[in-house]
C-alpha cells in the first residue's frame, strides 16, 4: 500500500477547547482521498494512546501519519518514535499541523471562519502528505573527536577547559609565543591557513612556526578575542582631552578619580562614519561609572549610549547604578550627540526617552573603543564563515544558538564576535566549549532527510546553485553536472528556487507538493 494516511486529532491540543467541531473535521478527513484511518483521541501524548494508535496504523496498513497537535517541535519525541518503532512508519512521513496556533487562537472571534479554515488546512495537509516520499537519515562517523580552539585568551581557555572536562582532546592554536597553561595541546606561534572537509570531519591546514601541517578535528571554536584600542573617531577628534574608557578606568583604579562631570559615550564615532558598528563596552562603561560614583559621590557621571545591554545578570546593576545617581541618556544614531564647538566642553544631544534636547557641560569625556581583531579576516576566510561589518566574526541566526556560526561544528565566542566584558567572554567561552564538546562528543554526524537532489538530465551546469548555496553543498561532479554533498546540505532549498533549469528538488518541499498544498488550501471559501 502506498500513500495511505492515518489522521490523528488530539482533542486537547487542536480543538481549542471546543471551538472547532471535531466530528465535522473527522468526517472530512475520513472522506478525503488517501486517508486510511481518522481518529480523535483525548490526549495524544499518553503512552497507551500512542501505542494503540501505532497498532491501528499497522493494522490498517497506513504508511504515513498526520497529527493534529501542537507545533512540530513541541510534540513529545516519544510520539514519533512509537510510530517509527511499532508501526514501521518512516520518520519523515509523520507530520503535525498546529490548528490551535494557526486557526483557533488567531480567529477566536470568528468561529465559523475558523471551522472552515481548519477544514481547508486539514485537506491541504492531506494532499501534501499523500505526495511525500519516505526519506532516509544517514550518519557519518567522525574520524577524530578533536576540538580545535583558535586563540588562548579568556574565552578560548574557558572553551578548551570545558571541552577537556568532557573528555575531548583539545588543541589550542595561539598566535603569540607566550606560555599558556591549558589542557590538551597548545601550539604557540600558529595560525590557520585553510580548511577542508565537511561538518564533523574538518581538516585544518595550520602553520606552526615555520612548519605547515594538517590537523583533523570535529569541532572548531573561534576565540580570537579583541582588545581596548586608542582608536578615535569624529566625536573624539573634536575634543582634545577625550580619552578611551580603559584609560579612565586605569585612573579610577589608581584612585585618580576625576571630579566635576564625567561623560562616557559608547563610541568615539556615534554617527558610524568610520566604524560601521559602534564599539560595545556596556559592562565596562557601567562598572566604571559605578566605581567613580562610589569613590567620589560628588562627581556627576553620565552614560550616553544608543543601547545599553550588559551581559546576563549584570542587568541587576542598573538599579544599583541608578541608586548611585549615575545618569543614563539614550540617543538615536540618526541624531547623534555632537560637541557644540571644538574643545567646547559641551555635548549636545537629544534624549531619546524624553525627546528633549540636552546640552551637557562636561569636564571629562571618555569613549569606549575596542577594535576587532585584525586576524579575524584571515581566519574567517580560511574557515569560510561570515564577518560582521565591524570586522568581528558573525554568529549565525540566534535560533542556532548565541555562539554558533552558520557552519555546523564551528563556534565563536568572546570578543571575536564583538567586544565584550571579561565575564561575558568567559560565559560565552564556556557555552562554546560545551557546544563544541557535545558536537564532537556525539562521534558521528547525521545528515540526509529533507535535502536537495539534482537531476543530471536537466542540469545545464550553470553554477548558479554552486554560487548561491551558503553551505557549499552543490558541486559540479565528475559527469560535469551539479551534485549535492549531502553532508553539507541543510535543506533550505535556496538552490531549488534559483535553479534556472529546474534541475534540483528539495525532498518534502518539491514544487508539486507546495503547489498541491496551495491549490487545495485556496479551494475552500473562507
Amino acid at each position: 500500500m502506498k500513500g495511505r494516511i492515518q489522521v490523528v486529532m488530539c482533542r486537547l491540543c487542536s480543538t481549542g477547547g471546543g471551538v472547532l467541531d471535531v466530528d465535522a473535521l473527522l468526517r472530512i478527513a475520513s472522506d478525503a482521498p488517501n486517508v486510511g484511518a481518522a481518529v480523535v483521541v483525548d490526549r495524544l501524548c499518553d503512552k497507551a494512546t500512542v501505542a494503540s494508535l501505532a497498532a491501528q496504523a499497522k493494522d490498517k496498513e497506513v504508511d504515513r501519519v498526520l497529527l493534529l497537535t501542537c507545533p512540530k517541535n513541541e510534540v513529545s519525541p516519544f510520539v514519533y518514535q512509537t510510530f517509527v518503532k511499532k508501526a514501521r512508519i518512516n520518520e519523515f512521513l509523520i507530520d503535525s499541523i498546529d490548528l490551535n496556533n494557526e486557526v483557533v487562537l488567531p480567529h477566536r472571534d470568528d468561529a465559523q471562519g475558523a471551522q472552515a479554515k481548519a477544514e481547508g488546512r486539514l485537506l491541504s495537509s492531506i494532499s501534501r502528505m499523500a505526495r511525500l516520499q519516505p526519506l532516509e537519515r544517514k550518519t557519518d562517523e567522525m574520524r577524530t573527536k578533536n576540538v580545535v580552539v583558535i586563540g588562548a585568551g579568556i574565552s578560548g581557555l574557558e572553551a578548551a577547559g570545558q571541552a577537556a572536562q568532557r573528555g575531548l582532546h583539545t588543541v589550542i592554536l595561539e598566535k603569540t609565543g607566550r606560555e599558556v597553561k591549558a589542557p590538551g595541546v597548545v601550539m604557540p606561534e600558529s595560525k590557520v591557513v585553510s580548511m577542508k572537509g565537511e561538518a564533523g570531519n574538518y581538516v585544518l591546514t595550520i602553520e606552526a612556526g615555520q612548519k605547515r601541517e594538517n590537523l583533523e578535528c570535529a569541532a572548531i571554536v573561534v576565540a580570537t578575542g579583541g582588545d581596548w584600542s586608542d582608536a578615535r573617531g569624529p566625536l573624539a577628534d573634536k575634543c582634545r582631552d577625550a580619552k578611551p574608557l580603559y584609560r579612565l578606568r586605569q585612573a579610577v583604579d589608581e584612585d585618580r578619580v576625576p571630579t566635576g562631570t564625567v561623560v562616557i559615550v559608547d563610541t568615539p564615532d556615534p554617527k558610524g562614519t568610520r566604524t560601521k558598528v559602534q564599539d560595545y563596552a556596556w559592562d565596562e562603561a557601567l562598572d566604571c561609572a559605578m566605581d567613580i560614583k562610589r569613590k567620589s559621590p560628588s562627581t556627576e557621571v553620565y552614560l550616553v549610549f544608543q543601547e545599553m545591554r550588559v551581559s546576563g545578570m549584570r542587568e541587576i546593576a542598573y538599579k544599583e547604578a541608578a541608586d548611585l545617581a549615575v545618569r543614563f541618556i539614550r540617543y538615536d544614531r540618526k541624531n547623534p550627540p555632537r560637541l557644540t564647538a571644538k574643545d567646547s566642553g559641551r555635548l549636545e544631544l537629544t534624549d531619546l526617552a524624553q525627546g528633549e534636547a540636552v546640552a551637557l557641560p562636561f569636564d571629562v569625556l571618555a569613549y569606549a573603543s575596542i577594535a576587532a581583531n585584525p586576524d579575524n579576516v584571515a581566519i574567517a576566510n580560511a574557515l569560510r564563515i561570515p564577518l560582521s561589518p565591524d570586522g568581528g566574526v558573525r554568529r549565525g541566526s540566534m535560533q542556532r544558538g548565541p555562539v554558533a556560526t552558520p557552519r555546523p561544528g564551528i563556534f565563536v565566542c568572546g570578543s571575536a564576535m564583538f567586544p565584550k566584558s571579561e565575564s561575558a567572554a568567559r560565559a560565552e567561552g564556556r557555552a562554546a566549549g560545551i557546544m563544541a564538546a557535545q558536537y564532537a562528543g556525539a562521534g558521528k554526524t547525521e545528515y540526509g532527510g529533507s535535502v536537495a537532489e539534482t537531476d543530471a538530465e536537466k542540469c545545464s551546469a550553470c553554477l548558479t546553485c554552486v554560487r548561491t548555496c551558503p553551505y557549499e553543498a552543490p558541486f559540479i561532479g565528475a559527469a560535469g553536472k551539479a551534485e549535492i554533498r549531502l553532508q553539507m546540505c541543510q535543506g533550505c532549498g535556496m538552490c531549488v528556487g534559483i535553479c534556472p533549469s529546474k534541475a534540483i528538488d528539495l525532498h518534502h518541499y518539491t514544487d508539486e507538493q507546495i503547489a498541491a498544498e496551495t491549490t487545495t488550501y485556496l479551494r475552500g471559501d473562507f
Binding site: P71, D98, N100, N101, E102, L105, P106, H107, R108, D109, D110, G113, A114, A116, K117, G120, S124, P386, G396, S397, M398, Q399, R400, P406, S450, T468, P470, Q490, G491, C492, G493, M494, V496, G497, I498, L506, Y509, D511, I514, A515, E517, T518, T519, Y521, L522, R523, D525, F526
Partner: protein
C-alpha cells in the same frame, strides 16, 4: 460571490516566520481568516512559480515571509527570497497585473505584533484590488 473573503497566501519560512505567527497567536492577536499559511523551509525556497500558481488558483494577494536579513537562519535565504519576489513583481507589472499583490516581508521570531500587521496589510491590498482581472475593488 457575495460572501467572498479576500484570499491571501503567505509563504512562511519554518524558522522566524512560523515562530512569529505562533508567538502572535499565543500573545492574543487576531487576523483575517482569509490567510493561508504555506510552510516552506526557508523563504529562499519560494520560487516565482509558487507565487504565480497561488495567484492563478484564486489568491488575491501573496506574501513571502522570511527571517530578518541579518538574522536569517540560512544566512542568505531571506535575501534570495526577496530577489525572487522582486522578480515576480516586475513580471506582474509586465503582464498588466498589480505588483502590489505580491510582497516580501522580514520578521524576527519575537515580533509578535508584526505578523497580524502584515496580514492586515495584504488583506487590505486584496480588498482594494479585488479578484484578479476585476479591474477594481469588489466593494467590500
Amino acid at each position: 460571490m457575495a460572501d467572498r473573503r479576500p484570499k491571501v497566501v503567505g509563504f512562511c519560512c519554518e524558522r522566524h516566520a512560523m515562530d512569529s505567527s505562533i508567538f502572535s497567536a499565543r500573545s492574543g492577536r487576531t487576523y483575517d481568516t482569509g490567510l493561508r499559511i504555506i510552510r516552506v523551509p526557508c523563504s529562499g525556497r519560494v520560487d516565482g512559480m509558487h507565487i504565480l500558481n497561488a495567484l492563478e488558483e484564486g489568491a488575491d494577494a501573496v506574501f513571502v515571509l522570511g527571517c530578518l536579513e541579518k538574522n536569517c537562519y540560512y544566512d542568505t535565504g531571506s535575501v534570495e527570497g526577496r530577489k525572487r519576489v522582486e522578480y515576480v513583481k516586475s513580471m506582474l507589472s509586465e503582464v498588466g497585473l498589480e505588483p502590489e499583490r505580491v510582497e516580501m516581508f522580514n520578521v524576527s521570531s519575537s515580533m509578535a505584533w508584526k505578523f497580524p500587521e502584515i496580514v492586515s496589510r495584504m488583506t487590505e491590498v486584496a480588498r482594494r484590488l479585488g479578484p484578479i482581472g476585476s479591474g477594481g475593488g469588489d466593494g467590500r
